[in-house]
Symmetry: C2
Subunit: 356 residues, 2 copies
């Protein structure tokens, strides 16, 4: 079977790495030949998207904000998994929010406003998050505002005005749904985000209703594949922040210390293979490597901690860019916290803010 | 860093799969472009062995019985790990046996005999195993004999005449030694061999002195990298059957349910990186796929068991040939035994002998 992946970044690369055990070939389609293309069975520049889709039996994507042509053509050929319905929700934040409401999925209170009435909409909450409806992702197109001061220089668009949640912590769940409808949820993780970027995460973490929400969301979309769902948790209850219709940075801890990785799970789901029970075998987490070259000394010190694995993505190092990550495993949650702190010190000398 | 691997089979392939996380490139040198070459960063036909060695910072091998030219040239350049001293023991069964004796490593009683005096040597034991000293590996060049009947048509050579051990079971250990001398041993496994081929194995298994022997053997050879050591166990005591100076079929269970795989461990060792603590996180085993095409139905049924992973090597299917394996994990040893039996039934319909 030929599996097509749209996008050539680290997520596509790890899909191939983890999919190599299965009797499939992997092809990449993207504007440029990134880390995934270099270990694939063939690379197609995006202009050759028809040839790419025609060659593949199933087509998936490592990122939802990509050139629409291969996505639409693959959907038209009945080969795209997950389908366009999930991607379309990510094209418009107002549509995504309305979807959550329609399916009774808990999310932060919000109003949707056109550009002209933003001032009025801002009255709804003391502290708001303004989210530009289109073209926004990964912390882009987001402004914070306190009543009654509307930020200056907002680009014209429809906006989601959301009540700023004073959450206790952020968490996420990696869920996978097979073609036959079977759903497997990996253990939820606690996530530390700063400036819209994941710094580290760790599992296990209290469920707080996440699994139930995940099952509902995947079923509502008749979804096939892995989805990453991010939550705010307050007073022990989870509400959806956003979801990603793909393998997710907060699921990299499943590469070690879990019974199956999110990447293998995704490949199994979209190729119609049975899922596996997603068990966490021991406390597991990751630390992202952001915008720094990995020196031989750093590599050595991190691996010397024991129970650590380093994934280097082979990307050009740029400020704030995710260029790798460290998997951290431990026999107890206390030991995991300690090791994550050690890795943070080795990478960022206790000052990660300087790298954001 | 450029890592060179001599040999293009499944062991080389899994070394690359597991080594992809690290910031290294992988090159293959072999007579033909096998499964490893197809996922490598570059393939060198064996005639271009000098170019291959010159390109790489370190050179290893997935199999010890390969063309000597790249091995010797890499050793000459100070790039071969593990070194020729371990390979040379494998070139001569009599030298290997004498080495065990010299270093007080327990092994089956034996005499070494030239071809002319074989009749006399056969008198040493009631039941003997005759092992042709050169050119033998993997159950090749071995004959069983009961006193006083020497088998006919033996090829002329020096022979090791070994007492046939009436062992309780066979077992093995995967040990890894770093450049700094640190040694990590993976949990020993119980192995079921038939007609000289591994059928399945499972871990954990009682140590029976294996770890101590492994440490002694690796230190005696100033060895760097992973070694697989096979044992006979009788009355709770292990004696060495043979060792392989490389990653080993009985270590594939470390791919799932262990804190680190034998393949990543080997890459770390030969590149001078720290080893990791080799912990078994849950009962783990494998079943070899021997000489059969993997049907979609078989793939589905095996994965449906849960806690299973299939590795397909992408080799031409031939009688008795190892063309893939199934990793099996379980929460208890009893469940592991049950699942291994299920996989055996699905692959061989309870009659593995018909496939040997």
């Amino acid at each position: 079977m030929n599996v097509g992946i749209i996008g050539s970044g680290q997520l596509g690369r790890m899909l191939i790495m983890e999919g190599r055990k299965l009797p499939f070939n992997y092809y990449i389609c993207d504007a440029e030949m990134g880390p995934a293309a270099r270990i694939s069975d063939g690379y197609f520049p995006v202009e050759r998207y028809r040839e790419f889709v025609d060659k593949c039996d199933v087509v998936t994507f490592e990122f939802e904000h990509v050139d629409e042509r291969p996505l639409l053509y693959a959907e038209e050929q009945g080969k795209l998994l997950p389908g366009m319905n999930a991607i379309e929700l990510k094209r418009s934040r107002s549509r995504e929010k309305r979807f959550f409401t329609n399916f009774h999925l808990p999310t932060a209170p919000y109003v949707i406003s056109n550009f002209e009435e933003l001032n009025k909409a801002l009255d709804s909450f003391d502290h708001s998050v303004l989210k530009k409806s289109s073209g926004g992702y990964d912390g882009k197109g987001i402004w914070f505002a306190d009543r009654p001061h509307l930020p200056e220089h907002l680009p014209p668009d429809e906006y989601v005005v959301e009540e700023k949640v004073d959450f206790d912590y952020e968490a996420s769940i990696i869920a996978c749904r097979g073609i036959d409808g079977e759903i497997q949820c990996h253990a939820p993780s606690f996530n530390l985000n700063k400036s819209g970027i994941l710094i580290y995460n760790s599992a296990p973490c209290a469920d707080a209703g996440m699994k139930e929400i995940a099952v509902k969301l995947l079923e509502s979309l008749d979804y096939v594949g892995v989805m990453g769902i991010e939550f705010f948790v307050k007073d022990g209850k989870a509400m959806i922040n956003e979801f990603a219709p793909r393998v997710h940075n907060t699921g990299h801890h499943t590469l070690h210390g879990s019974s199956i990785s999110q990447f293998e799970h995704h490949i199994r789901a979209i190729t119609g293979l049975p899922l596996s029970d997603a068990r966490l075998l021991e406390p597991s987490g990751i630390v992202n490597i952001l915008g720094i070259e990995l020196s031989a000394e750093m590599l050595n010190s991190i691996l010397k901690l024991g129970g650590t694995h380093i994934y280097w993505y082979g990307k050009e190092v740029r400020h704030r860019r995710k260029v790798g990550h460290v998997n951290v495993n431990a026999t107890t949650e206390g030991e995991l916290s300690y090791k994550i702190e050690e890795v943070m010190n080795l990478l960022y000398s206790s000052n990660v803010e300087a790298f954001l």
